[in-house]
Symmetry: C2
Subunit: 348 residues, 2 copies
Amino acid sequence: MFENTGRTELSQLGEFGLIKHLTENIIIQHPSTLKGVGDDAAVIEQSGKVTLLSTDMLVEGVHFDLTYVPLKHLGYKSIAVNVSDICAMNGVAKQVTVSMAVSNRFSTEALEELYSGMLMACDNYKVDLVGGDTTSSLSGLVISITVLGEAEKNEVVYRSGAQEKDLLVVTGDLGGAYMGLQILEREKAVFKENPNAQPDLEGNDYVLERQLKPEARIDIRDILKHLDIKPTSMIDVSDGLASEILHICNQSNVGCNLYEDKIPMDSMTVNRAHDFKLDPTVCALSGGEDYELLFTINQKDFDKVKNHPDFTIIGHMTDKASGANLVTRSGNAIPLTAQGWDAFINKN
Amino acid sequence: MFENTGRTELSQLGEFGLIKHLTENIIIQHPSTLKGVGDDAAVIEQSGKVTLLSTDMLVEGVHFDLTYVPLKHLGYKSIAVNVSDICAMNGVAKQVTVSMAVSNRFSTEALEELYSGMLMACDNYKVDLVGGDTTSSLSGLVISITVLGEAEKNEVVYRSGAQEKDLLVVTGDLGGAYMGLQILEREKAVFKENPNAQPDLEGNDYVLERQLKPEARIDIRDILKHLDIKPTSMIDVSDGLASEILHICNQSNVGCNLYEDKIPMDSMTVNRAHDFKLDPTVCALSGGEDYELLFTINQKDFDKVKNHPDFTIIGHMTDKASGANLVTRSGNAIPLTAQGWDAFINKN
């Protein structure tokens, strides 16, 4: 019945456009709802402390491919990516709920595998699995996870607090999860052509693990606290560095210079990118799924992070009018785009 | 890869069996997690108050049929059924998150319709929509909603507190939502045979509304408070009266006598059941989706509820050994079963 009304294809708006469009009429009723839609998690005040709330949905064939993702890894990752959202608010994840729609293609043993990965992640991250819903689906597997976290009200770090001249910092290294995905996709293609072929995964442990078993950076909150740093803004790298920088710039009303030669990448990521004839920078900018934390700090904190093994300073914030730019190795400034993938491919 | 291991079909365990099986290894880590899996909502303590957390997943073709469910109604209902879970804990719903997986069969306008129904419910129930995830699916629509509620710690009513001799009470009337579904299914069948036929829905407003636009009983908490009654146990009627009574009996370690002639039913529900040659009692016991509240109270509170227009006393709790029974109009005691539908059809 709904196909008869005026029709705007979902693809016209894109994911972020669609979410913005659908959520613009939301009216917040409770003063305790400090932050609703629009950050890594919602923020709900309760007696001085706040509850952080975030949710993610993973769809078979869209977010994961069970031909090469073991169910246990999928379970682990589905919890990790949600915990990562709480980390990105500078909070501590405490509880999760897990809902699943499952077709009868799956056996009980398959769901046990999935669940055991989830419980392993819950144990690692010290979160309680407190509820959920398990239902049937007509096709495929859909996983929806909601995570609750805690923080003191004044500890919470939003996407919106970056200031001009702040330093842009990222944890760990980037692009690895994307290279892991490329290798898995390649082996899937080989297997399709020749079902007797053995997958050639050797020597790629690091990037495969980055893709199949990413970790939420629950350690960063304590490290920052110990260094007496409160980031001015923060987000986790789920969609790719370019997209996350643009979120911070848009919500903080600032611009940014990101320096290509500063982007931290593991040598295996760089080597595999070259094997695949991909630009490693593009992998970091647009690959996503690294689940590292990207944040901004005041310049006064420079000395505290400059030689820290967990952090890399990759740029600084500018005025809004200057826009968000990648400063290439050759010194050119190229505007960052959320759909950086195609754009950059064409430019390189 | 998972199909190669030993295989137990999901249908062998059933929904409740599967959930029990999957969740039995969960270890709760935080003392603040007062209740995890196993009630209408999880209960999380924070500074004397508690946060209530519940989640539901709705799958196209399993939980709803878009050939006769308008998207706006679906949106409204998806929020209502989640709020109902918080009511069933004697709490107040405050925030919801909404995740959706949507195929490209849907237009932006269709999602707007869905969302407008959700926002209407949020407005009615005074809850804030604070986040979510919108993603693509390869087929059909999946909606996953999580609701957060609040209560004082000592106000929360669990499924597990019913005592022998407590009275069993239900709000409103039962079976209507199921009869509404029968009418919609009938008209769908007519339409399939003759696409020019006009649906014959006249005179069925009440039961259709019970199915398409159920309301969460957010009023009951205040009514009970005003009467100075704290139920000893409570649950909402989502799966059918029989199933809910068994949940309370199992979790409270008691038995129950439910009196057939006391079950409140609207005359339209009874009449339509007769038209369809269905036993009205079976519709109430196994139909589900009424979203009324079922609770137990101490006998001392009898006078407060006996003539109250919102409440009907339908039975009393017994010792566990006596089991959970339906006492029929003829005075026979028949054991209640969660799969009461077939069982009772055969007995009547």
